[in-house]
Subunit: 218 residues, 2 copies
């Protein structure tokens, strides 16, 4: 449920719930390695069980099937990302700074944990259950954060009043996601964080009221 | 190889090659319907054979497997799209008009043929062979068109000189693709072509030298 083991803040007494959560987390962590290496379709429940050091049947105590395991993995990663996004935004007062912080945080997450990012950007899309049936409330929250920043910027008079936040939110996510995907499928020798700044500039200029608040835009 | 039957310009004598091409096309056309309805993983070669009115074995005369069939379908669709893009660009003299024409053409193609667009945007990503092994030269050509427009705009002095064309090309494709995907997976009651204009405005403003050439940007 909470963050990844190295960053857990709440490692207190090992209650029954804790033990449950620990084994479930162990399986999820093992799944990350196997899925990133073999891909969604070539990974079997048996592979994951072996990597986690548990019996195949144990996996089914926690996850209905491979799609469900992937979805829970996604939910854990997204919950952690959403916390990091909110932390990054809390330090910013204005919409422009918030949008910049959001975009940088997204690409930093991808660059710092490419195995997990690959599962989210590449493997997850191979689960038709995820794509077509799963409602995905956490992705909704992710989009909502961008939408709220855009709305705030419009109210501050810094972003164009004719922006359509829901449309531009999807466009911004799509741009970020494609940049991440291209990087993940490449040799990863360019710095994604450096790209973040160039992308930020283009997106910010695109949403700004111009030229009023961007006299030195070029 | 060439466009869809209703738009074929080259229906001349039915040579052996033509007959070959016709049966192959019949299979591909049948596959579009089946894949869009059932999805990549739930579609079998048998389903496609039935829909095309041929024996299962006939499919294997033309396509090695389901992934290969999907890739050939993609190549046919992309080859047609690339011709349409080039036609649309030929009428424009300047980079800004070209970029606008390109974005509108992309979203118009999706809106006018959602079945095919769904296969490209949703089903194709479920083929790990397509995502990870296929070199995809036609997608490379698609990106090259955007990259050349950006370069042209920089040379005209209309687009920012600090743009990184290869990065911004991916960002633009990602934005368009995500807008299309969101529309395809929705009830499709909004007009995608109307969205195209709002998206164009944001992208053009984002890449323009500002405020020099965009005094009335807001």
């Amino acid at each position: 449920m909470s963050g990844r083991p190295s960053k857990r803040e709440d490692a207190k007494r090992p209650s029954t719930e804790e033990k449950y959560s620990t084994k479930q987390e162990r399986i999820l962590r093992a799944a990350i390695g196997v899925l990133a290496e073999r891909g969604f379709h070539r990974t079997t429940i048996h592979d994951i069980a072996q990597a986690a050091g548990v019996a195949d049947g144990t996996i089914y105590l926690y996850f209905k099937n491979k799609d469900q395991l992937l979805i829970e993995l996604f939910e854990e990663v997204m919950a952690r990302a959403l916390r990091l996004f909110r932390d990054a935004l809390r330090e910013e007062q204005e919409a422009e700074g918030k949008l910049r912080a959001f975009l940088h945080t997204h690409l930093r997450l991808v660059e710092h944990d490419p195995e997990v990012a690959q599962i989210i950007s590449v493997e997850l899309r191979q689960s038709s259950i995820f794509i077509k049936e799963y409602k995905n409330p956490l992705f909704g929250e992710y989009l909502k954060i961008i939408g709220e920043i855009l709305q705030e910027g419009i109210e501050e008079g810094v972003f164009r009043s004719d922006l359509r936040p829901s449309l531009i939110t999807r466009a911004i996510f799509g741009a970020m996601d494609e940049i991440s995907l291209a990087w993940l499928l490449s040799r990863r020798d360019l710095s994604l964080e450096e790209s973040a700044e160039a992308l930020c500039e283009m997106i910010l200029q695109g949403v700004r009221r111009c030229p009023v608040s961007a006299p030195s835009g070029a």
